[in-house]
Amino acid sequence: MLEMTNVGVTIEGDNGSVEVLKDINLKFEEKKIYVMTGPNGSGKSSIAKTIMGIYQPTAGKIILDSTDITNMSITERARLGIGYAFQRPPLFKGMTVRDFLNYAAGPDNTIMHCDLLYDVGLCAQDYLEREINASFSGGELKRIEIASILARNLKVAIFDEPEAGIDLWSFQRLTETIANMNIKYDTTIVLISHQERIIRLADEVILVAEGRISGITTQGKILDDIQCLDTGCECRNNCIKGGEDNQCLIL
């Protein structure tokens, strides 16, 4: 289990300090799937980065299976089994997809490159020897990023808006793959998303607003509210907008 208790994150930037996260309390249980949703800029990616160790908490504690990881480095957390698929994956000029996936898997693990790429809807023949450079589209980069998470045997896997740039046909396979990862390796899955089809995977839905957790609910409740939007009932006050395609969820 991964537990965040009273976690706060303040970042020192060029224009003074920004309080990005305030008093975050969350429990992620083994084998469960969580979807984190909320408006752009609400702090979803920051929560993910704080779990990964990219942002260091300025208050509170993070515990993974009774180990205090609050002050651990990114590398240490990765080695304990935490993984994070970036919202905007970086390019690696010169590094091939094959090398990248090998680094992800680690030196002690052999991986089935072809299966991994198939799971994210890419043809291995076309991609394995390609460099991860600007010739890739945003969607292709996202898929490779997701494959790098699938290559690892993780306790906690976080996917930050995995649907961005991925067509509907591949999307189906992607959601199945993520659900499989959860079943096969008992991985706790955290999905940051606004997508109805992703929300449908959730055991619990976490709502984030203005750097805080504004609620924890079920997919049924959230989806009923979307339904309400579709049928044209009146927009209520706390309409949250987010995601690349700016869908509107009513809570």
């Binding site: 480095s73 990114i74 590398t75 990765a78 970036f86 970086p90 010169g94 680690g106």
Partner: protein, 305 residues
């Protein structure tokens, strides 16, 4: 003839484990150390100056020539090599210089290589430079490469210098005739107090000639790098220069690509970028379990591949 140290240097500069297949000429400390010719490839010692003529018969296919130079003592070595690649031949040429300098005096090798790539011939030329040695003496390599590519010829050049050379000035000049093609890929890593200067000039003389230069470098510590990559389009031709450097520590990098068109149908592009390793790249690899040092090494290894 060749001792363990020589064999190690050979491995570094020519990926050789023992003696190469095909034709070869091994030069050690300014002297010819070993040579082999084949039915199609002749190697002749020059009479007027130090060096060799390498003559590849027209139509020779899938053969290779290795001409490594090794220096295992401090010495100043100057050599002139001339290559005649006959029409429609297809060959691989592996040159390279490895220096092991055990002394406090400098060890220097200046190689002047001139190539005539005849009509329709294809040549891949790999040049690797490597230096090592416990001595404080400087290891200096100054290659000059001049290549004439006749009609329909194809030349691919890989120039690699990854380790241990204190000073290098490399001059490369290529002239391309009608429908000739050139691909240059340069990989350079400098560290400590090393300096490297690379001057490449390509003249696109014939119609439909094309040239691409891809230069990637990493400058670490207090090292200095200076790139001057020039392309002249005299005809209906296409040329592309791409130079990309990663700068670290207190290093300095200057990159000046230049393109000149002397014909309205010349299409020339240059791109140059210098920057440090992006922190996002390091963080990504660390989040996959690599340490910061391992992540840095992985990024540099990919970049210089």
């Amino acid at each position: 003839m060749l001792d363990t140290l020589d064999l190690k240097l050979l491995e570094e500069v020519a990926d050789l484990h023992g003696l190469p297949q095909g034709a070869y000429n091994i030069r050690k400390n300014g002297q010819a150390a070993d040579r082999k010719t084949t039915a199609n490839i002749d190697i002749i010692t020059k009479k007027d100056k130090p060096g060799i003529d390498i003559v590849v018969k027209p139509g020779t296919k899938e053969e290779s020539v290795h001409i490594p130079v090794i220096l295992s003592q401090s010495i100043g070595d100057l050599v002139y090599n001339t290559f005649e690649i006959g029409a429609y031949a297809d060959v691989l040429i592996v040159a390279g210089c490895g220096i092991h300098n055990p002394s406090s005096e400098k060890a220097q090798h200046d190689g002047i290589h001139e190539f005539f790539v005849r009509k329709g011939a294809r040549m891949k030329y790999i040049e690797k430079h490597y230096g090592e040695g416990e001595g404080t003496g400087q290891r200096i390599l100054n290659p000059k490469t001049i290549i004439e590519v006749e009609e329909d010829g194809i030349v691919e050049i890989e120039m690699i210098q990854i380790k241990g050379v204190d000073h290098t000035v490399r001059d490369t000049e290529v002239r391309l005739q009608k429908n000739a093609r050139l691909i240059v890929s340069e990989r350079l890593l400098t560290n400590l107090e090393q300096t490297a200067i690379s001057n490449i000039t390509v003249e696109l003389l014939g119609d439909e000639s094309t040239a691409q230069i891809i230069s990637r470098s990493v400058a670490q510590d207090n090292s200095h790098q200076d790139f001057h990559l020039n392309m002249y389009g005299y005809s209906k031709c296409r040329g592309h220069i791409q130079c990309d450097s990663i700068i670290m520590d207190q290093a300095h990098v200057t990159s000046s690509p230049m393109i000149s068109a002397l014909n309205t149908d010349a299409q020339l592009i240059h791109e140059a970028a210098i920057g440090k390793i992006a922190s996002e790249q390091l963080i990504k690899l660390m989040s996959m379990g690599l340490t910061e040092d391992e992540a840095e090494a992985a990024i540099l290894k990919g970049f210089l591949k």
